[in-house]
Symmetry: C3
Subunit: 131 residues, 3 copies
């Protein structure tokens, strides 16, 4: 059974105590992700819609490395700290999820660790057979 660290082709700091994603067999687990750039800074402070777009953008290389695509994501869990414009993130989902849709949960939490993060999303994908 395959069991792989998935980083989307990027180096991963060994001081971190988690992996950005991990493929085991045909399952792909994706860590809670915020809308950061390569330096770890939130790309769009104050803009939950663009932060959500950035989160899903960051998932692209993870999915590709694992041999699957957005359509294979079966679960997303949104944690957001403001409801302002949260409903606008649905349109972002439409940009990424085309044929098949994940199940979804969204809850408002007290806080996220990443400064200026308004939303953090984690997910699970099921990789098609033969991939």
């Amino acid at each position: 059974m395959r069991d792989e660290k998935i980083t989307g082709g990027k180096p991963w700091n060994p001081r971190y105590t988690y992996w950005p994603a991990r493929r085991v067999g045909n399952l792909l687990f994706i860590s809670g992700t915020t809308g950061t750039d390569d330096e770890g800074n939130i790309t769009a402070p104050g803009d939950i819609v663009e932060q959500t777009r950035q989160i899903f953008r960051k998932w692209g290389p993870l999915l590709a490395e694992a041999g699957c695509s957005y359509d294979d994501i079966v679960q997303t869990v949104d944690h957001y700290i403001t409801t302002e414009n949260y409903r606008g993130t649905a349109a972002v989902r439409r940009e990424f999820f085309k044929q098949r849709l994940p199940t979804s949960t969204g809850v408002q939490v007290v806080g996220l660790l990443r400064p200026h993060a308004l939303i953090e999303i984690h997910g699970i994908a099921v990789i098609p057979e033969g991939k």
Copy 2:
């Protein structure tokens, strides 16, 4: 590998950007569910116990469509916004989970999107072989 939208036999509005449940292989993922009726209104405002009952009731057709039952649910995650009477929801679980029990997590969050929702639960089931 099967990969199916699961709606419990109900029509599903194409403007939604998630599915109520999705079966992939022998796994069933269930979206965060609140205690709403077919019109999307909470059936029991102010009553977390009855809302929990309604959530699990709504899961019945999803599980049936996927070929499994309550006993096959292996994970539930409760997000609630009040602790008042939350412990009363355990008795509701006993009404639905008979032989085998899911793992469980329950945390109090700031808010849920659905007006008047006191609790939202998402879950995962593993479908028995041959189903």
Copy 3:
């Protein structure tokens, strides 16, 4: 397909409406766990780092009974109620996760049910073939 209640070799009170862990096929689901002792009391009130250590300690017998180890945990979700010293829990992860790391999500919530619990973690492991 195996489908087993996993208690880590301990008796499990039948009044509970969930199992501490459940193995189905090669998947292990672990319930939200707090840093309690055998009597259900938090071992280290006020100390999120030690509570986290106790949580992972409690997972050891669950993993062993299911035929796997810490390296097989692929997802952890942390719910904490204070950010104070939360970053100190990363060092605890290093004590347990040696070769392969789980994906991770951590969010601050309003409250946890267990009195004096500062953090609750739930997880998923994938059991190696042949185990």
